[in-house]
Symmetry: D2
Subunit: 456 residues, 4 copies
């Protein structure tokens, strides 16, 4: 018996390849699904089934392509009208190799959410592992806000019951395999540790220490952000996404061709790190650092325009493409030959904005009167502590609320580390703001420096 976790970095999503005696299944395959075919070949296994824990909202699922390429069946919950695959009832059993897989309806995160318990038939018929999807994470539980505030109470009750009445009774010794790890938008406080058991969660998961009432109260008052791309994902994962069978290969574009595409309306994503972006960038480009594409792109990029990429190094192309493809951005027109150096060697126009340290900010605060400090973190984070006098507009809402900002004053953009603030700063300069500054290190550095914060 073999379990291979396939992580999608940035999304912090886990797919699982589970095999026994030349037969295998995949749970929640990611869109770039060649990897499952590669593992199957390496292990000399045939993929017999594809099991979805729910209609995922944060990435494009690869079930249909993988099914087409392997002949495997697709299975998911019955409480949603999927346009593909087969519906499962509670406690159906599936056998492959020496494994029994048992479907468990565990509504709460969504109505159709399923978990899958697994028994190793070499041992017994009793489950010893469970794939918990977005129902139970290591150190956290699934979001229950996705259907809107009117449904949150109902979903939260369902989630509590799914965890306490369906999952925990499987036994303390049962290993858990959730759909997300730390950093996912699907859970606020998932642990860095990946390995856990129902017993460890029962004892230590802070949410599971609460009474049902406390649990419901806590979950229904949580504030999560909900990026606009979720709508696209929900549609794709209900109906099936476009199938490409391989990753897009956007071509290298010479600066002049790149410029032409810009003028035709393509959106520019500059994937370099904040100090580089601040130092020099193209007018109208978005600053989305490569490793933050999974988190920020879905807040920022439209689906109806072509996308142009700027890379620190051309070897990053594949990673950038992968990250965008998993979010359904397939319309990649090309990337800039020679990167930013290629651009400025042609004496094409550059812009830049300031990158300052927290110490410089501290000094400025003491010296300058007209600073406008824009804190672009989630409002929950802002509530927990911020620089006195700062104004909070979450970066994801900034383009729609740009009118609230004052023109003609120095704007200091502030976030947790400096990446989100770089995106926000790029949104400001796109909107014509000048005298914009990003604070490198953000709240982490501010706190490390021992500077004062307030919750007022």
């Amino acid at each position: 018996m073999l379990i291979k976790k396939v992580k999608s970095e940035g999304l912090s999503h886990n797919s699982y390849f589970v095999g026994s005696e030349n037969e295998a299944i995949v749970i929640d395959p990611r869109r770039d699904c060649q990897i499952f075919i590669d593992i199957a070949q390496q292990e000399e296994m045939t993929i017999k089934g594809i099991y979805e824990t729910h209609r995922n909202e944060d990435y494009v699922i690869g079930s249909i392509e993988l099914a087409q390429r392997t002949g495997a069946g697709i299975y998911h919950g019955s409480k949603l009208d999927f346009k593909y695959g087969q519906q499962l009832q509670d406690r159906q059993e599936f056998f492959f190799g020496k494994i029994k897989l048992i479907s468990l309806e565990t509504p709460g995160h969504t109505d159709e959410s399923m978990s899958y318990a697994l028994a190793d038939l070499d041992l017994s018929e009793e489950p010893i592992m469970v794939f918990t999807g977005d129902t139970l994470f290591v150190g956290d539980v699934g979001r229950t806000d996705l259907y809107g505030p009117n449904e949150a109470q109902r979903l939260t009750e369902a989630l509590y019951d799914s965890i306490f009445n369906k999952l925990l009774p499987l036994g303390d010794d049962v290993l858990i395999f959730p759909a997300h790890g730390a950093g996912s938008v699907c859970g606020g406080d998932i642990s860095q540790r990946e390995d856990s058991t129902l017993g460890i969660e029962r004892t230590f998961n802070p949410l599971l220490q609460k009474t049902r009432k406390e649990f419901i109260n806590h979950k229904t008052t949580e504030r999560h952000t909900r990026p606009p791309y979720f709508l696209k994902m929900e549609k794709y994962n209900l109906e099936g996404p476009p199938i490409f069978n391989k990753l897009p290969t956007p071509p290298p574009l010479m600066p002049k061709t790149f410029l032409k595409q810009m003028k035709l309306g393509a959106v520019i994503v500059d994937t370099r790190q904040p100090p580089s972006f601040g130092g020099a960038h193209l007018k109208n480009s978005y600053s989305i650092w490569l490793e933050r594409i999974p988190s920020y792109a879905g807040w920022t990029l439209p689906y109806d325009k072509p996308i142009l990429l700027i890379l620190e190094d051309k070897t990053y192309l594949n990673k950038a493409v992968c990250y965008l493809y998993r979010l359904g951005y397939d319309n990649l027109t090309g990337y800039l030959v020679g990167g930013i150096e290629g651009w400025y060697k042609q004496s094409l126009p550059l812009e830049h904005f300031g990158s300052i340290s927290v110490h410089e900010l501290k000094n400025w605060l003491n010296q300058k009167d007209d600073l406008f400090i824009l804190d672009v973190r989630e409002d929950e984070k802002w509530d927990q502590g911020h620089i006195s006098g700062s104004i909070n507009i979450f970066s994801g809402y900034l383009e729609n609320r740009i009118e609230e900002l004052p023109r003609g004053r120095p704007i200091i953009v502030f976030c947790n580390v400096g990446n989100r603030a770089s995106l926000a700063a790029s949104i400001l300069t796109r909107a014509g703001f000048q005298d914009v500054h990003n604070v490198l290190g953000g709240m982490i550095a501010w706190k490390n420096a021992g500077y004062e914060i307030t919750t007022l």
Copy 2:
């Protein structure tokens, strides 16, 4: 927090790299230890400690080289007089990142055997994982026969107490990380499944279902083989092995140079699969299929002679070298250019022996009177069922017992699949036997064919 299992295939040995917040430790590092330095770099972590679960007897440990290259300290049990590293007492605590590691004396497999419990300080001070060394495996427990029959009773009692009084009390929900997986010579019946918890083992591990008395009785009557290379490993792992800092790179040898080295006394290891070896091989070569080097080489190869390699494909060189290096075979003179084809193109002499199917064997048994069926499996396996009339000499003892075999009769060599029998057949032909035949598929195929076996 991060745990990376580093598997040494063939040995079925597991080393563990455990990291948290830029600090890491390694448990039982294998000899080719560059991989731990690579992981540390990839994760931007510093290796602070190297923990040995016991003086391993089945491979060369890489602690000293890794310590030299990283500056980490080495720790092991106090009940053996190691010539390097520091001794641990029971329940010492070590901290790195957000992890607390607790040493647990768990004698039984050996006197100095240690386990290491781990607490994730982000959760609590309570252990949630335990590295169990050769004390407890998934589905099995450690051997207690290594000190000889006089000590087995004492060790077995200690093992039982270590498991029941030290490990299981940590809690059903605690994850276990043993030093070996399925296929190891250190446990007869380790499960194919790698993930487990103390609770799963408490409930399902067949050994843990026994009473103390049954357990002791079972373990003290177990029969394990003990390859002669264990002595070398024990010496190396007590005193420290030769340090090379990189894998050996045996050069390609043209057939004539290869021949010269043969004549100077080098031992030839032919790593091709049994049907190839049977089809054509060099006089005096040993048949040890690449993937069985970890299991068979230590039974067969001397430490005081240079070794020559024959490969199916030159790309296998690194794997063969790795496997031998882990067993302390450092004296690799070279490998044959062009493989066996390179040899026979030079019209150098070839030998071959028959490879027959179980059906052919069945027919021969019906037709021929003088067949000598030599079953080279472990005697325990033979006792459980064998072909009527077959004689059992375990392959590892064959060279010493070669005088027991009849000259002048067809000898059919038989094992479980055909790999061990190929080695045995090569030992026979080295000793001048002719009319030797290997049965492809061995007992597995024999049973699959529905042919009769006996336990008499």
Copy 3:
């Protein structure tokens, strides 16, 4: 300026990627054309043109897929009615980066054969390199027999004139880049050395030392073999082959599924080396060693039946698939899980035949009367020297001439090394012959042993 030679091993075919200042062309792209897209990305170049030297007959060209994926135009000679691309006249000029490419009509190998001279405009307008297709190789020239004996004289005259009047006048210092290297079926005696100039060829190429008359006489009396798959290639390369956009991924098949597919009529290709195949193989399988697929498959495998693969090691799958795909074999049903061991562990039936050394053959010749020595080399090779008493049937014709062989006698199959003979032996056993033996080392070993050959 950059030239990357992309070699297709086995076919000994060379494609060329030529780039300058972010623009590139490809000459004779092979079918698995992702590599050109990868190079283009790595070098940040755009592929602007695809140039064919002629309708290749020995592999499937990748021009159409590469054109579709890059937008590049396709160009070829005007003397054949291609169903795609654009026709070129003599001495058309194309510019990319700082390069001028000049088309040269160089008929002879075929009527539409083109060469492409290249000038580095940083130097001058004078060509300093020439891509010579199948017109001129290092140490040899192209075949002129492909249109049949009636056309050979005309083609050979054209070839001579193309070389002497078109190519050599470019200058001794001009570097040549031919479409094939040593081992190609498109040239009998291409040099192992890859680098050459027109001057070196003018001085040392044995064919270019001849007078026009000698040249024509030599070429029109050459005997080349012409594998039947050439017809398929010619059709594909005239009209365009099926487009897949990626390599096929044949699935692993469990022995019983494999058996079922066999019974449904699939053809089995066993890619292991001859001693392995001889030692044990499946009834009815063809012995085509992995590295000889490019040479032998097109003689042996039908296009209208599915193909099953047996591999020495599953990691060879990709190579085997690649080799077959380049010859247009797309219908790959799967490969055997566990290889031959997987098969015999199931006690499924095995066959084997003898693999003997040249020394054993020599002994047998002295001892046995009824040996039938079947020499399966090309008849030209046979004429140059063979074992006295041997009968020559080229392996490629063997299936059609199988009736000429005697039943009931030991048949010794003989070739140059033993690979082709292994295929021939497998053809014999498929046809029900028994007592078949392959001679390992073949004529090379026979000669190295100093044994006698005859030309009678």
Copy 4:
């Protein structure tokens, strides 16, 4: 016969692996010589000889380590008193496989410079290739200034004679394989094209179009820079460098450890691109972009201090280490965990300077009076055209001439593209200058923008 060119990027140095029939030689092996052992294994060849074209001055040669690891002999010219290897006379002959190698004394670049002509014995005894070292490049010839102005005339005469009397007489059709390609400090104007012949060079190499007098006049008035590390290389390559047998593996250092090492006197090399460095960097760090380490490090870094690295991405570590190792910088203390972000999250102090476009510079020139424009290109480049009013101090001399710069004025640093200027700007800020600005795009962008230059 096989020739593999091993390029050392940045240095633009070529080593050559030349093999025939299982025997090989290496010409000018680079220090990280594992690659030659890997090729030898891949090709199943034995390295029999190591040939040096001269005592290289721009990198550490790997001859001794490679000789120790393979048993090959080392050969070089007799006109220098090397402390290792064997001396060659003119026209000695060496045979390996089917190759004859002929040593040719070709003094001029240095007194002991050798070329090696190669005959393919399958063809004839006549050379068809020549390895020209630093004597003749594609499009250029070797430097003759290394012994100082007093010797330049003598060396240049020797070089002319070596080329015209030794090399060109080998024949127009002879292929050349020089020790350097475009971008090397050993030749000012080597062509981007890598393939050439003596005939192409005779006809098109600008230097070879001159009369002997013109040639000597041209070469003796050339101005080359001579980085101080050449002295170290010359010593190492005369006596033998330290031998490590593998690349250094500098450990990841947490910011506080990094800071401690800084304070102990380590030198910091920040390998990020200029816009990133300008945007935010550590006080006292040098800006040497990764890909310019081979060119700039030897001008800047001392050999007697430990070196600390800052990387854009930890995956670049190996490249940075490789580049430094080839220049003899072995004392690498570590690299910064988390890169610059790791630093600023700890709220450790940052510095930054401006990165401006040529358009901004143009505007400033129109608006500001007190700009000090520091052009850090080679003086020869400056003479050919510069911004009116700029002052030229070559970056390599800047630290020694820092007193010539005015304090208290804005300093605009200018070079060809912006990389060298970034290094210069970092030298200025190390020396306490403020108000420093780097011009992104440099002279290339300035010219592309059509702005005015002067030669006055």
